[in-house]
């Protein structure tokens, strides 16, 4: 019943992050507004240090700590490093954006770091309680971040909707988890799985709980029909926060789904039950997401619907139920985070004081104003649409391959059809940038580091698409070693 140093070693990145948040929280109080760069630098350094520690302590096997509450496996290490990268890039992109909108305060950075900690806890959870607490830590920080721009009515409304629907989803999830506990007598993920395998669980109660768990997961992922909050929150939140919501938490949500559905409830008897549920969610998400996105004139809203359709694709990979399918889904979510970072980063690069650059019209004639920005955006849009040779194409291809291998040919056909419909609205942006007259003629003002990162991000969408093998191998190795 005692804790040893072996318990603390795998949790080192989390402990480091928490300690640094507390340091930043206090240190920031002593900084003047003009010295806020210090907080920014400390936040980035903390993320870098966590990445170093995670990479240095990565092991090819699975380690448990804290009485089986915590698990350190290759999947968690890989996803955590991706989360650090995504959060770091988000901070760099949004620096001037938040400074111009009065959000460049210590709380912004600490809340972002708390959200990161929540994601790490979710990724490494091995117990339903830890999973839930990590999710709440992430969600609470995000609610506050969405509402941080207090004088904006849209932000406040978005935060309110996010909070109320998020609480409802948590309630559903918890109710489902309580049923899982009632059926198996444990919340410890490997224990739940072994009791189900041994036939010691009450299957009726378990199925009943499974329905609520899937509904809760659908809410958190933003899959149709649990998607109502996504467009309003993406639209209403400050772009910096929208960028955060749409990238790193998706990586954590992927781990969350894998831990619950595959590791705990992945038994064959339950798999045949949740596979059709995910199928319905996936098809509805791809259909509604892609069709509704066409009608949008606001880019952030359009990207929200595009997120819904991407989540449908992610579910396709998971419902195929094979290691290849899970690795394809992991690859997809990593690629989605990369594209989301670039696209929202571009919106922030084009914005300035009092101007959000979130309307489709704001992108008209971008090629005349800055050919390089237009080219980077073109790469990102091609990747979102899945045009070869960008990475989005390869991500979609690997998911479809997994679906076909699982014997669901019709699903693959449906997915391709909706991707083709989806390509329309991505390519419309390319047309606006290259063939229309500019409406907005102000020079583009973004700081040098953000501009450099944006170029790297756009080119990565192309380069990883040409040589996708290493990332795919990374995902495959992580999934193989972890499951």
């Amino acid at each position: 019943m005692t804790l040893t140093s072996a318990d603390f070693l795998p949790v080192w990145p989390e402990i480091l992050l928490l300690a640094m948040v507390c340091v930043i929280l206090v240190a920031d109080l002593f900084l003047k507004d003009s010295q806020r760069g210090g907080t920014y630098a400390m936040t980035l350094l903390t993320l870098a240090a966590c990445a170093l520690v995670t990479a240095a302590s990565a092991r090819p096997d699975v380690t448990f700590a804290f009485h089986g509450m915590f698990v350190d496996d290759p999947m968690s290490d890989t996803l955590k490093i991706m989360v650090y990268l995504a959060v770091g890039a988000m901070l760099i992109y949004s620096r001037s954006y938040v400074a111009l909108r009065g959000m460049y305060r210590g709380e912004f950075f600490t809340l972002v770091l708390f959200a990161t900690l929540g994601m790490m806890v979710m990724i490494s959870a091995n117990h339903f309680l830890t999973l839930y607490l990590g999710l709440e830590l992430l969600s609470l920080s995000l609610y506050a971040l969405v509402a941080l721009q207090r004088d904006s009515a849209a932000s406040t409304e978005a935060a309110m909707k996010y909070f109320v629907l998020g609480a409802l989803a948590s309630g559903m999830l918890l109710y489902g988890v309580s049923m899982v506990y009632g059926a198996t007598g444990s919340l410890h993920i490997p224990e739940v799985a072994s009791r189900i395998a041994a036939g010691k669980a009450n299957m009726t109660i378990l199925l009943f709980g499974l329905v609520f768990v899937v509904a809760g997961l659908g809410f958190k992922l933003g899959a149709v029909p649990f998607h109502m909050w996504v467009p309003d929150v993406y639209h209403g939140a400050p772009t910096a926060v929208t960028l955060l919501i749409s990238t790193a938490p998706k990586l954590a949500a992927f781990a969350f789904v894998i831990r619950i559905l595959v590791e705990a409830l992945g038994n064959k008897a339950l798999f045949v039950e949740w596979q059709p549920m995910l199928m319905m969610l996936a098809v509805a998400s791809m259909a509604l997401g892609n069709l509704t996105a066409i009608a949008q004139t606001n880019l952030k809203r359009m990207l929200a619907y595009s997120t819904i359709s991407h989540m449908g694709f992610l579910l396709l990979g998971i419902l195929s139920g094979t290691i290849n399918g899970y690795s394809a889904a992991m690859f997809y979510v990593a690629v989605y985070a990369l594209m989301g970072l670039g696209t929202f980063g571009m919106i922030m690069a084009l914005s300035r004081e009092g101007f959000e650059a979130d309307q489709l019209d704001d992108f008209k004639g971008l090629n005349r104003r800055s050919p390089w920005h237009a080219f980077v955006m073109l790469l990102l849009m091609f990747s979102m649409a899945g045009v070869p040779p960008t990475v989005g194409f390869y991500a979609k291809l690997s998911v479809l391959q997994a679906v076909v291998d699982a014997g669901q040919l019709w699903l693959a056909v449906v997915a391709v059809a909706f991707s083709l419909i989806g390509a329309f609205y991505y390519l419309r942006i390319v047309r606006l940038m290259y063939f229309d007259e500019p409406v907005d003629t102000h020079p583009i003002q973004s700081d040098g580091v953000a501009r450099l990162l944006l170029s790297v991000n756009g080119l990565a969408a192309l380069v990883v698409g040409i040589v996708p093998g290493w990332l795919m191998a990374l995902c495959q190795r992580a999934m193989q070693a972890s499951l």
Binding site: L18, H67, E107, L148
Partner: protein, 211 residues
């Protein structure tokens, strides 16, 4: 029917009625007070389940702290009841249909043998020296120490978020800075002027009162 069963049904009846009144009471203060009643009866039911510590915590934390704060907020806000009630009847029919269908489906699964007394037998009674609080404490600080710490971090986030969302310094507010107030010296407020002493003119002799 044993005494305990009778107590259970009495508490359950009060709990359900109180919960119904929470959502049907017109006055928000009454609703909050009914919620207090619901918490207290729920605590009574937990006591019957031999979960003494949880029962006491429910009363202390929820009734003692959360609901008192809640009442404060309800009394301080000027809630327009008519606006809240707007559209109530429009939503009632579809919401009622959904609720009844869901209730029926859930009852079909949960009522009966799945969660009945045979499927979930009562645990054997604990010896008299058994301390609920001690056992919970042991678990929280050993097996559940990791989730416990995360819960603490969540509370920290709540503090940071609450301050970030509500603390604002407006330029036009007039407020007292206690630090500056404390640092005030006598010389800042009080000026002692030395003046030559004035010799008071002798008072006029009192006039003789008229006879």
């Amino acid at each position: 029917m044993s005494f305990q069963t009778a107590v259970f049904y009495a508490f359950s009846l009060i709990l359900v009625l109180a919960a119904l009144r929470v959502i049907t009471a017109r006055n928000p203060v009454h609703a909050a007070l009914f919620l207090v009643l619901a918490f207290v009866t729920a605590a009574g039911i937990w006591m019957l389940l031999e979960a003494e510590f949880l029962a006491i915590t429910l009363v202390l934390v929820y009734v003692g702290a959360v609901m008192v704060l809640f009442l404060f907020v309800v009394m301080m806000l000027d809630i327009n009841l008519d606006r809240l009630k707007e559209g109530y009847w429009d939503y009632l029919v579809p919401a009622g249909v959904v609720a009844v269908v869901m209730l029926g489906e859930m009852a079909a699964v949960l009522v009966g043998k799945q969660l009945g007394a045979e499927a979930m037998p009562a645990p054997s009674p604990k010896p008299e020296t058994y301390s609920n609080t001690k056992e919970l404490g042991k678990l929280i600080y050993t097996e559940y120490v990791y989730p416990f710490e995360i819960a603490a971090v969540i509370l920290l986030v709540a503090i940071v978020a609450a301050i970030a969302l509500t603390l604002r310094r407006r330029k036009d507010t007039k407020y007292v800075d206690p630090a500056a107030q404390v640092l005030v010296r006598r010389s800042d407020r009080l000026r002692i002027v030395s003046m030559p002493a004035e010799v008071a003119a002798p008072a006029a002799p009192p006039e003789k009162a008229a006879p």
